[in-house]
């Protein structure tokens, strides 16, 4: 379920339909609450539109000791948006994050979950300029794209096998339904 939600988020950068689908009576999210619950529980799923770049600044203990709160304030000023909101041009969303496990280069900054390793305000501003001019497009895809390497091996059953099994299952179901009638 979690990888599928990541995949769904790849399209628009956020999960477009979770809120609406909970309101509409016939949506799968309504009929099966299990697929509406994870997006609400996990932090990485966004239910509101976000910018192309989601900038996360860590302020947890190791980064706090290195000036994480100050860098977060600076980021808010540079990007022109409050923590938790999106800038007017729709390019940036700023978040205060928990520990991102890169504490040796503190304070830690991530853009779309890629480490940019800018610890000073000046480096941060330079990085933002690079993002604006598209110089970082090769290593920072737009928000939502998490794993660009797709699985290419595995103990997978062949397509024909799956198709035949599906065919059998469908035939059995049709038979049951015919019997009911």
């Amino acid at each position: 379920m979690l990888p599928l939600l990541h995949l769904a988020q790849e399209q628009d950068g956020y999960l477009t339909s979770v809120k609406e689908s909970r309101r509409s009576p016939n949506s799968p999210a309504r009929r099966r609450p299990t697929c509406a619950a994870p997006p609400l529980f996990y932090d990485m799923y966004h239910l509101e539109p976000v910018g192309k770049y989601v900038v996360g600044v860590c302020t947890n203990v190791a980064c706090l000791l290195a000036g994480g709160l100050e860098l977060l304030d600076h980021a808010s000023e540079t990007l022109g948006c409050a923590v938790g909101s999106t800038s007017d041009d729709g390019l940036f969303t700023l978040e205060e994050t928990e520990c991102l496990a890169d504490c040796n280069i503190a304070p830690c900054v991530q853009v779309n979950h890629r480490y940019v390793r800018t610890t000073t305000p000046d480096a941060f501003d330079a990085m933002v300029d690079e993002l604006k001019t598209g110089k970082r497009d090769h290593d920072i895809p737009s928000h939502g794209t998490l794993i660009r390497v797709r699985r290419s091996g595995g103990l997978r059953a062949s397509e024909s096998e799956v198709a035949s099994e599906r065919g059998d299952a469908k035939a059995a179901r049709d038979k049951r339904e015919a019997e009911k009638k």
Binding site: M1, L2, P38, A62, C99, C103, Q110, L146, R150, S152
Partner: protein, 434 residues
């Protein structure tokens, strides 16, 4: 003086920029451990790991061999690797996942062979986008190389590994919450007993959950023998360990050093390791094993880095992260931030944790920002006592998992060690470090 002559076990390829590629891995002895393991009986591989007495590197420090022996016999069972490293200031698994994914994959295959499990999952926290890509690439390469898939290296053993991204939840580092996450649900830890994963884990089948670093040690152990691993370190803490050093030190980083033979002072002050405190200030306190652990003062700097040695003094090595505070850092602010973290990450199942963490966070915020009262200190301790009765170590549990009982550690340590500093915050009506 730090003892640094131990062999590099998990960071052997540190000097290479392309340490994550299959070509570099094969050149530096990669997959030799797996090839050797496949010539042995599975139970002999497990016996080798048991002989190494490898302690789990995730936090609890449970012997990996014993964990394996508890797996219920069943036609279907699973191996799950815990790479949801979210404990604040811990970054050793991040290092291993990003820098040496093949070593991790090889370790997982060896473990799966020893347990005769044909399906393994590597759960990596979603924030490690690059790490996820590298592990997926390593898996793809390993399939092509023949180390993964059906009948690997022409043996009779088949295995499939799936990498599974998390989605931002600290609680999923708890093994039963991680299993819930894998099943596609919210990360709510299960009540155990009866749901010990070794009996009733993923999809209701027996499951072994091991940490990334634990797995990464296996290729070396099989290549060099469990006895060689057990010869390193001392007492129950064998081998080397990857310590994540952070906070007010000159050279923060992940350092692999021999356990027990080195002390916290070596780790923090040795020029080849931490290099001392920034600006040569005085050390005020340090956290020996992640923010769930009670703090130590400078008087315990000469304590050896060993599981039992640290436990004896009333804390834990935990996730292997050491955070250093110096005289310029405000412990009230640090404690507030730690409690804010727990309050945010509490899954919400158990009342003491869900409500208690929020109360503590608000009281700590008040103290740090100038609205505190002296009574707050005793109220905080009382709150902590309600979450973990008696404030003992190891803590008493009132909640399903140990997240709840981890909240009081830092609050209790900070108040008992630095009551003066709290009082100063109250009297000054604000933070004296601002």
């Amino acid at each position: 003086v730090a003892v640094l002559d131990a062999p590099r076990i998990v960071t052997a390829r540190e000097r290479f920029d392309d340490s994550y590629t299959l070509a570099r891995y094969l050149e530096t002895g990669g997959y030799a451990g797996l090839r050797k393991a496949l010539t042995m009986f599975p139970e002999d591989v497990a016996a080798e790991v048991d002989a190494a007495s490898l302690l789990g590197r995730g936090g609890a420090g449970f012997p990996a061999g014993r964990k394996w022996s508890m797996l219920r016999k069943s036609p279907v069972s699973y191996l799950v690797v815990n790479g949801d490293e979210s404990e604040p200031a811990t970054f050793k698994d991040h290092y291993l996942v990003e820098r040496d994914p093949h070593q991790l994959v090889e370790g997982v295959i060896i473990a799966a062979y020893a347990l005769q499990v044909n399906q393994a999952f590597i759960y990596i926290r979603g924030e490690f986008a690059l790490g996820l890509e590298r592990v997926q690439q390593a898996l793809n390469d390993a399939y092509e190389y023949g180390a993964l898939g059906s009948k690997i290296f022409d043996s009779d053993f088949s295995i499939d590994i799936v990498v599974h991204p998390g989605a931002g939840a600290y609680i999923c580092g708890e093994e039963t919450a991680l299993i819930e996450g894998l099943e596609g649900k919210r990360g709510f830890p299960r009540i155990k007993p009866p749901f010990f994963p070794a009996v009733n884990g993923l999809y209701g089948e027996p499951t072994v959950v091991n940490n990334v670093e634990t797995m990464s040690n296996l290729p070396w152990i099989i290549s060099n023998g469990g006895a060689a691993f057990a010869a390193l370190g001392g007492g129950r803490s064998t081998g080397t360990r990857l310590f994540a050093l952070a906070g007010r030190v000159k050279n923060p980083g992940a350092y692999e050093i021999e356990m027990v033979k080195n002390t916290f002072r070596d780790l923090i002050y040795d020029p080849k390791l931490g290099g001392g405190i920034i600006g040569d200030h005085q050390i005020k306190a340090f956290i020996p094993g992640g923010v769930s652990a009670p703090w130590f003062g400078p008087d315990l700097l000469d304590l050896p880095l060993g599981q039992d040695e640290v436990a004896e003094k009333g804390s834990m090595l935990g996730s292997g992260s050491v955070v250093v505070f110096d005289e310029t850092s405000c412990v009230v602010r640090a404690t507030w931030r730690i409690t804010k973290f727990f309050s945010r990450e509490s899954c919400g199942q158990c009342t003491p944790c869900r409500e208690g963490s929020g109360w503590i966070e608000r009281a700590m915020y008040r103290l740090e920002h100038g609205g505190g009262r002296m009574e707050d200190l005793d109220m905080l301790l009382d709150l902590c006592d309600n979450i973990a009765p008696g404030l003992t170590w190891p803590p008493q549990q009132t909640t399903i998992c140990v997240l709840g009982s981890s909240i009081p550690s830092s609050v209790h340590s900070a108040i008992s060690m630095f009551r003066d500093e709290f009082a100063q915050h109250v009297n000054d009506g604000g933070c004296p470090f601002d």
